[in-house]
């Protein structure tokens, strides 16, 4: 039976339904990808926990504020946006968690306990020792390394911080559309469609971009932003973590590449039997 004869039969009803569902899925995926890529740029100032694409830089600074009369040291976990009002200053969102503060005056000139903006004094060296106590301690193991940008930051920083999410969603969109077209060719009775090897290669490339973006690019951008912060006289002893790549997706990508090779061989064999009676 010639290969061409398979496609000349009227398709069963269920195949038409599957084809329509796949078409709808492709349309929705394309719209979602466009929306999320645009959102990635605009939401760079939103905390990821709130659904934004910003990268939140967190760490534990031991703020050695000494209330002379009380003589206590208060530890403040902070998040550090890249927005800053003046050179040498950085707006610190002091969040108090895990410990109690008896008196808001413990924070002295550094604002109030709880969520809110606290501006550090101009020129303050966060690594400077004072009263024999280091202002900062090394970041605790296991802390998240993310960076969120202030809403007043320019488009350059926005694009940079939103870049990982943009690339990630673009990769997800491309992989999803190619996969949908591949599945439609299978259900349409054309498993060895000549376009399928190319679609599988695009899927593998998109998945690779998603993996690299999520595990490596994000860390690299945080390092860049830390350099930006440090250039303004602030020495933040935080590190961006080590870029590691999850090996499980690597095996998936290799599997998809093997599938692409297999389908390329199948398409070649199908072409050889085209027109055979």
């Amino acid at each position: 039976m010639a290969v061409s004869e398979v496609t000349m039969r009227p398709q069963p009803r269920w195949r038409r339904v599957v084809s329509a569902l796949i078409t709808a899925y492709v349309v929705i995926t394309v719209l979602e990808t466009i929306t999320m890529v645009v959102f990635a740029v605009g939401s760079g100032s939103m905390d990821p926990s709130s659904g934004g694409s910003g990268i939140v830089l967190t760490g534990t600074f031991t703020y050695p504020y000494h209330n002379v009369s009380k003589g206590r040291t208060v530890e403040i976990p902070v998040t550090a946006p890249t927005g800053f009002t003046e050179p040498g200053q950085i707006a610190v969102d002091s969040r108090v968690s895990g410990f109690a503060v008896e008196d808001e005056s413990d924070f002295g000139p550094f604002g109030y306990a709880g969520r809110g903006s606290v501006t550090l004094p101009n020129g303050m060296d966060l690594d400077h020792e004072r009263n024999g106590t280091a202002l900062l301690q090394p970041l605790r193991t296991g802390s998240r390394h993310e960076l969120v940008i202030d809403s007043s930051v320019g488009w350059g920083y926005r694009l940079l911080v939103g870049l990982p999410s943009m690339l990630l969603w673009t990769g997800v969109g491309i992989a999803s559309v190619m996969f949908a077209m591949f599945v439609r060719s299978i259900f349409g009775g054309r498993p060895f469609d000549p376009q399928n090897p190319r679609r599988l290669l695009w899927m593998a490339g998109s998945l690779a971009m998603v993996v690299l973006t999520d595990s490596w690019l994000r860390v690299w951008i945080v390092r860049v932003m830390l350099d930006v912060l440090n250039q303004h006289g602030l020495r933040i002893p935080l590190h961006a973590g080590n870029p590691g790549i999850n090996q499980a997706p690597i095996f998936v990508i290799i599997g998809v590449l093997c599938l692409a090779a297999a389908f390329r061989a199948g398409a070649r064999m199908a072409a050889d039997t085209e027109g055979l009676v």
């Binding site: 010639a2 072409a271 027109g275």
Partner: protein, 81 residues
């Protein structure tokens, strides 16, 4: 059509005379299909010179049904100058 198929189509000058043989025997394509066990679609591909290859089993069945030889069914056109 893949480049390989296009090259193949240009490479052969085999002509099928199935339509003439059917007309001489007053037989329809459907009747031949029923005798030979090959679909009308494939026989139509063969008759219209769109086939790229033919199985020996198919060739044997067609020759038995039409009581002819392969040389009656196929010929090779002379090469154009």
């Amino acid at each position: 059509m893949t480049p390989a198929l296009a090259d193949l189509q240009e490479a052969h000058r085999v002509v099928c005379h199935l339509d003439r043989l059917l007309a001489e025997r007053d037989m329809t394509l459907a009747a031949l299909s029923a005798q030979v066990g090959v679909t009308v679609v494939n026989l139509s591909i063969l008759k219209n010179n769109r086939a790229k290859a033919i199985r020996f089993t198919t060739l044997t069945a067609i020759c038995d049904a039409l009581d002819c030889q392969p040389a009656d069914l196929f010929s090779v056109q002379s090469q154009p100058p």
